[in-house]
Symmetry: C2
Subunit: 328 residues, 2 copies
């Protein structure tokens, strides 16, 4: 099979396609013929995929060959074939394209886990999402809306904020105009942060008493020049670090099981709506009995696997809203 | 009634006894004739008390006049009379002295809340307790032992560590000999920290993956000169600030209810044991069917309320193990 591999030491500039042996599914595993894979900053090529079940290992009876699946992987998803634990795979929503499906796992699982389990976001609370135009950001905006929260989001590019309002962004904060802390006018109960050290003190400042700061990344580095932890104690804050990569298969299986039940139906709603809100439906009475907010993957761009360098360059330019996806 | 009050602006040096009007219990409240009160660094005189129910407000039927109670208060416990919500009060263990009882609430409720709800300490895990010779520290050591944890504790005074071994301290760390981080040889799952900023980076360093840092105070101040948050993300750590003072009556009631059921029986076990371990019992078969670890309040010193200045001076000297208690 062909796979994206490191051809030397370095960053994205040494990534290239190469021939590798086909992986063989072990007990409880399935082999997936990858059709598309989301691009991420993580250093192992291929954290997420969408494709067809191609072979099953001993005792793996959950899926049949040809089933359309998507999911998170510990690496190796930027390849023609990928082996994963069968219970970490999720069904691709009916009618969804491979590229759309490949934009779901990392963004929506990360955002859902962060909002629900790490942040314990409640109906009526306010959530602040940094880098809201990112893949995780665009997923988090939509999920936070389904949870009944007020959604605030930051971006360094004002033009990225407008398209997010249709997804559920209530308050867009343009950080090119100044500190986000000065622009946040309500107490924030949950923050999803990908900025890191330089935003730390302002994050503590805007949190409400008993607020939760969920750290998902360090785009601006981990260093805080002059930290003052006083507010952690006074406001009884929680800070929790959350990354997907080091998680065990057991953790991935548990997360996938919850996601299948709680989140996947929200994509189906979207498909039935066909892009229109229910009140705008023109094809007779809706099959959905009452209004239910829906979610959808947001794609910035699609690149062929052979253009991996161009895909990474686009990610570095950081000009778009949503995910970059690779396809064969 | 007489009460400890601030006679001017400043710290403990302006505290003195003064006459104040007797407080009147409102709906659902009880008035307690305070017999003893624990001393704390908090700036409101009187966070905890032990005494007799003296009067009951409208609808307050939980206690009868003369019942022996103890508990946390939002302030005002360094007085002859104190009014509290009836459901925040706890029964004094049978046979326990007023001064022993007054040493329980703040130390044991804080330690239990921190270990159980904030730190989620599990059997077989390791917990590191800073300033382990303090009131909260001596309570936490004993409770952590009942939870089946390995207990590590720090002190700047080596001589304080020895008496704590009998309470359950497995590893005593003398911080006058150097950084605690260099002396911690096992991954730590939960830290109870009262030191604050200067210990922050070392706390992150000694935590195991998914470890929990519970911040209870800032004896060394809240500032961290050069914080690096990298480990929060990499090890998926949790940091949570926890203080008793700003809690609502609803939170105090819930905490007291759990404490009554889960922790108070451990003091009763101690009383039955009469200071001996069960295997040493000389008075026939134990009434306790199987071994159950017990806990007890640890008192450093008792002062009369009229010596409030001397009591605070003793707290500042920081020479003892356990609590300082005031009594009429």
């Amino acid at each position: 099979m062909r796979a994206i591999v490191y051809t030397g030491s370095g960053g994205a500039e040494v990534l290239a396609l190469a021939e590798r042996p086909d992986p063989v599914p072990g007990p409880g595993q399935i082999r997936v013929r990858v059709r598309a894979a989301g691009l991420n900053r993580a250093d192992i090529p291929g954290m997420e995929y969408a494709g067809e079940v191609d072979a099953t290992g001993p005792g793996a009876s959950r899926w049949r060959t040809g089933d359309r699946v998507m999911g998170l992987a510990g690496g190796g998803a930027q390849a023609e074939l990928l082996v994963v634990h069968q219970d970490t795979a999720l069904p691709v929503p009916v009618g969804m394209s491979w590229t759309d499906a490949a934009a779901i796992p990392e963004a929506f699982l990360t955002a859902w886990d962060a909002l629900t389990f790490r942040g314990r976001l409640q109906r009526g609370e306010a959530v602040l999402i940094h880098a809201v135009a990112s893949g995780v950001g665009t997923a988090a905006v939509q999920l936070a809306r389904t949870m009944g929260a007020t959604v605030l989001g930051t971006s360094r590019t004002a033009a990225k904020l407008d398209p997010l309002r249709a997804l559920g962004l209530d308050v867009g904060i343009d950080t090119s105009k100044g500190s986000f802390a000065e622009q946040v006018a309500v107490p924030v109960h949950v923050i999803l942060d990908v900025l890191g050290g330089p935003a730390f003190q302002d994050n503590l400042a805007v949190l409400a008493p008993r607020g939760r700061l969920v750290m998902l990344g360090f785009l601006q580095g981990p260093a805080v020049p002059q930290a003052n932890l006083g507010m952690i104690l006074r406001k009884r804050l929680e800070i929790v670090g959350s990354v997907m990569r080091p998680r065990t298969d057991e953790e991935r299986v548990e997360l996938a099981a919850g996601f299948r039940e709680q989140v996947l139906p929200l994509f189906e709603t979207e498909r039935r709506k066909d892009g229109r809100t229910e009140s705008e439906g023109t094809d007779g009475p809706s099959v959905v009995p009452s209004f239910r907010p829906s979610v959808r993957p947001v794609l910035h761009a699609v690149f062929p696997f052979s253009d991996i360098a161009a895909a990474h360059a686009a990610m570095e330019r950081n000009e778009g809203v949503g995910k970059i996806v690779l396809t064969w």
